[in-house]
Symmetry: none
Subunit: 205 residues, 4 copies
Amino acid sequence: MTETSEPQMSRIQQKNRDLILHGALEAFSANGLRGATIDQIARSAGLSKPNVLYYFGSKDEIHKALLTTLLEMWLAPMQQIDPDGDPLSEVLRYMRAKLMMSQDYPRESRLFAHEILQGAPHLTEILGGGLREIVDRAAGVLQGWMDQGRLAPVDPRHLIFSIWSMTQHYADFEAQVRAVLGPGRDPIDEGGVFLDNLYRKLLTP
Amino acid sequence: MTETSEPQMSRIQQKNRDLILHGALEAFSANGLRGATIDQIARSAGLSKPNVLYYFGSKDEIHKALLTTLLEMWLAPMQQIDPDGDPLSEVLRYMRAKLMMSQDYPRESRLFAHEILQGAPHLTEILGGGLREIVDRAAGVLQGWMDQGRLAPVDPRHLIFSIWSMTQHYADFEAQVRAVLGPGRDPIDEGGVFLDNLYRKLLTP
Amino acid sequence: MTETSEPQMSRIQQKNRDLILHGALEAFSANGLRGATIDQIARSAGLSKPNVLYYFGSKDEIHKALLTTLLEMWLAPMQQIDPDGDPLSEVLRYMRAKLMMSQDYPRESRLFAHEILQGAPHLTEILGGGLREIVDRAAGVLQGWMDQGRLAPVDPRHLIFSIWSMTQHYADFEAQVRAVLGPGRDPIDEGGVFLDNLYRKLLTP
Amino acid sequence: MTETSEPQMSRIQQKNRDLILHGALEAFSANGLRGATIDQIARSAGLSKPNVLYYFGSKDEIHKALLTTLLEMWLAPMQQIDPDGDPLSEVLRYMRAKLMMSQDYPRESRLFAHEILQGAPHLTEILGGGLREIVDRAAGVLQGWMDQGRLAPVDPRHLIFSIWSMTQHYADFEAQVRAVLGPGRDPIDEGGVFLDNLYRKLLTP
DNA sequence: TATGAATGAGTTTTCATTCAT
DNA sequence: AATGAATGAAAACTCATTCAT
C-alpha cells in the first residue's frame, strides 16, 4: 500500500498518505465515490479535512490513487497462474486465492465493485486496455491446456468471469449472503468447498 | 410496477408514480442512492422537483418504493422452480431466467447490487427475513432432489449464490465484461452456453 | 437594467434578478470579481446565498450578466455621435455625456475598469470584436470631419482614448482626485470646464 | 527598490526581499490585492510560502511594502518639473516621462490603479496627505507660469489629472487599447504624438 | 533562515426539502 | 396536483497563517 515511485517522501508524509488511503478505503467501499465524504475520510484517518487535501488535491484524486494503489494487488493472483503447473491445480489455486481476498480484503473488493458498477470511469483511465491484456494472457494459458486435452474445453474468459463473480460475491454481497445463511455459518469456508467441487467437475477433462 | 394497495388513485396519479419510479431506476442504478439526485429523477420523469416529492415524501422513500416495487419481479423466477418438474431442467430454466434478466433488466440488477453493496439497509427493512424464507423453500426443493439422487449433491444455498452471482455479473460488471471481451461479441449469449454446460456438469448425478 | 429577451419571467423573478444585479454592482465595483463574495451580494440584495445562486448559477455568471446588462448603456453615448451634427459640438457633447456617467454611474465605471485591468476576459467573450466595430464607426465619422477640414486633424482613436481616460478618471480614481483637491470642491464640475476648453483648443481647425 | 532603513540586512536577505516584491508586483498587478495569493507570489519568487511570510508578516504587509517601495519612483517625474525650465518643455517632458512609465512599468501602473480603484486604503495610510503636498507644489509651479503668461491658463490640478489619466490609460487599459487598435500598431508611440500635439495646443499661451 | 506540515476561517456550490400559491 | 421560489445543511475546496523543526 506504499508508493515508492516518488522517492522524496518523508516518513511522516508516507504515514499520513497511508492513513488517508486507509480511511478512504473504508469510506469509498462502504458508500461509493459520491456517497463518501472527505470529512469521513479525514475523521477515519485522524487528520483535519484540509490536511487530507494537502496530501491529495481532491476527493477524486484520493479515489484514483486508491484504485491505482490497489490495482496491482488486485490483479496479482491471475498473473501468478503458472503455465507450467498442473492445470486443474492452477485454476483451483487461483480461485482459492480470489476467495481468500474476499475474506481478507472485502473492502477492496467492494471498492472495485462500486467502481465497475458505475461504468469504471477511473479504472478505464488507469488501466487503459491493460486489463484486457492481462486477461488475454491468462485466457491463452487456459486455452492452451484445453487444446492439449488437459482441461475440459470451455470459454476461458467466461471461466474467468465465473471465478471473479462467484468469489467476489462473498465480499460484495455479504449482507445478502449472511441474511440467507443465517448466523453461525462460515460463508467463505463453505463457498470454498462448493467452488472446489464445481471447478473440478467443470474442468476435469 | 403498479401499487394497488391504495385504491383511490387516479389514472394520472398512477402514471406519474410510474414515471417517477422509472426515472428513479435510471438514476439510482447508474449512481447509487447517494449519487442520484432528485433533480435527475424529476428531469428524467418530466416532472418538477416538488411534484416528485408530492408523490413520494423523500428521496429515501422513492428508493424504498422502487425496491419494493421491483422486489417481487426480482424474486419471481426462484419461486417458479417447480418441485414436480425435472430437476436439472428446472435449475437450468432458473439460471436462464436470471440471465435473461441481466439482459432485459440490467438497471434493476444494478439497483439491487448497489443496495446490497451498501449493506442492504432498505432491503432488510422491506424483506425482514422474507428473502431467507424464499431461499429456504427453493433450497428445500433442491435438497429434496439431491436426497432422491436426482441431482448431484451440493450445498443448495451456495448453488443459488453461484447462479445469482454469475448471471448478475453480466449486468452489474458489464463495463468490465465488455472491456475484456472487446467489441463484436454477445456476452450474455456466450455466458448462456458457458453456464448451461457448467450446471449440467455440476449437477448431473 | 432589465432583461427583456426572455419573456416568461414573473414580476418577482424580475425584481430579484434586479436586486441581485444591483448588489453585484455594488460588490464587484468595490472589490473586483475575486474580491467580491456571493455573501456580500446576497446580503446587499436581501436574499439568501442559495437563492442568489438559484437565479444565477455561479458568481461568474452574475458577473457576466452584469457586464452584459450594462454594456449597451455604457457604449450608447458613442453611438449617438451624429455624423450630420456640428463636429465640435458633437465631440463636446460626447465628452460631457461620458463625464456625466462618471458622475451618475461611478460604480459602473469602476466595474468596467476592474474588468479591463484584468485583461477583460469576460468582456472579450461578450463583445467579440464588437467594440472595435463601434469605435471604428465613430472614428470614421471623426476622420471624415477632419478630412473636410471641420475638425483639426488628430488620430481619432487616440482622441477617443483621451475622452475615455479623462472622463472615467473622475470615477475610477475618485479617491485620488478627492485626496488631491481636498474637500469642498466639485471635481466633475471643474473637470467639465477643463475638458471643454481642452477639446475646443485641440479640435478647432 | 531597496530598503535602507534597517541596516543589518544580509546580501541574501536583501535579495529575497526583492524577489518577493518582484513576485508580488506580478501577482498584485494582474489580480489585485484579494485576487493574488501568497502561493502565486512565493512561486513567482522561487521561495516557499512560509519563507515569504518570514520576510513580510502578512499578505497585506507585502502589498503595503510594495506600494511604499514603488511610490517614490512613481511620483519622481512630477518632482522633477523644473521651475526654472521652459514651461511647455517641462510639461511635455513630464508627460513623456509618465508615458514612458506606462511603457516600461505597466505592472506598476496597474498596481496603483487597482489600489486607487478600491479607494486607496493602503496608499492613504502611506501617503497621509503627502500626495497632496507634492501635487500642490507642482500645481504651484504651473500656476506661476500661467500667471506670468508663459502657459495658457487652465486649472493646474486638472491638467495634472489629464496627464495621469491619459498616459496611464495605455498601461491600465491596455487590453482595450489593443482590442480597438488591432495588431501591428504601437499604441504608446502613437499616443506620444497625439499627446504632444494636445498639450502644445492646450498650453501654448 | 527555511520549510514541510497543518489548520481555522472562509467561499463557492450542491441538494434535499419546504413554502406559498 | 402542481410548481416557482426559497433555504438550511452540508460538502468540496481555498487560502492566509501558524507550528514544529
